[in-house]
Amino acid sequence: MRRLCSAAVLLAAGCSRPDPLILCHNANCTGKLVVHRDDTLEALRDSLAVDVDGRPAWDGIEIDTVWHGAQERCTFAHQVRDKAPDAGEAAALIADHLLTAETPSWNGSLFVLKIELKPVVGLDLEQHDGSQERQHAECVLDMVDTVQAAAAAAGVDLEVIADSSDDGLLREVARRPRWRDIPRRRLSADFGAPRPFTPDTPKLSDFAGVPLDVIEFHPGWLTDADVEAFRSLEVDFVLWMFSATPELLAAIRTYDPEYVNTGEAELMRRWIER
């Protein structure tokens, strides 16, 4: 879109502004990129308070969940961490926000709860076994129950996105009746840096048969062919980023995503609303 807008100089045509829903990346979107605070209760509390003009800067929050194989528990974390809090604690904080906030999100009526299911269960990058997949999926649906109850009590529309780079985890979520009972639910395939930079980045073919609604990717790390393949699936896009650079802002205009997942929620909101 950025290039299209530039061409408009010659064509004397205007161009529309992007209007994505903004998600708080890794529950850590206070604007300073301190990655060791990703998916911590402290950063989540601070992020829930990030506002623009008296409203939350974001439309929803991303929570990462890790099944800790050795401790056999579901954690709120970006990677396996022994002292990570239980994932339910993050859900409880968000539920409390929905019950107490004057305005639940920037748009005022919809709150997007995006829960990423991380594929690794151990420090040596072990993957889930079948039992762990089931327990992880149940954990995510327990979190949804907590937030859904609060949203209903507060009169807030809730959209739930279950996101993973592990197709097995998405299949496990999707086959559960509790998932199908969520009125507004979306399944998202997550693509990070290409192999070999990120060994657990999936292939699109891994998700064959998964009823995807959304694909999340970093626009700087994939080829145009990858993105065109995503487009062919007629899914919505989530663009994620570490830092809001001109390249990423241009990508938002180019790909016109439904969601932008950023650690700089205030910058993104003010840039969009300028």
Binding site: R2, R3, C5, S6, A8, V9, C15, T30, G31, K32, L33, V35, H36, A193, P219, G220, W221, T223, M241, F242, S243, A244, T245, P246, E247, L248, L249, A250, A251, R253, T254, G263, E264, E266, L267, R270, W271, E273, R274
Partner: protein
Amino acid sequence: MRRLAAVVAILLLAAPARADRPARDWHLGLNLRPELAVHPVRLGGGLRAGSVDFLAVLDPLFWTDGVIDTDLVTEWWLLRGFAVFAGWRPTAIDLGDGHQIQHRMLIGAGAALPELPGGFRAHVGFELAVLLYKHGGGLPSDGLSFDRSAADHISMGAFLQVEYASPL
């Protein structure tokens, strides 16, 4: 990788600049870009004195998205037709009631293309841009990180500069 391959191919095709080029000139033209990092068309110009070129590149397309990139670059034509350069790119992002300013260091290499008629000339270049610091707009200041978020702080770009040059 594709951009790198394209730039290497262009560099291999690049022809040496003419030897009878004046010792000093001024030049003004278009700086054209294929990637998303900066706007595709900017205005670039400067002064060349011997083997050193002082360049400024300005961004007239800021109105399309509220992002203004300005380059200040010094280029050294070390070999016949080939140059290396270093510079600074401040970027201003419009936030409605203020701007965030991002500062990037630029390093790269360029090559002259065959001379064009009528005082026009062209050269191509490849650059590495590193985001060192950002501040302003009432947002937290932040510098170059040395963790996984550093991936967004480093970018590569290529350009074609087509310009009119006249002796001083």
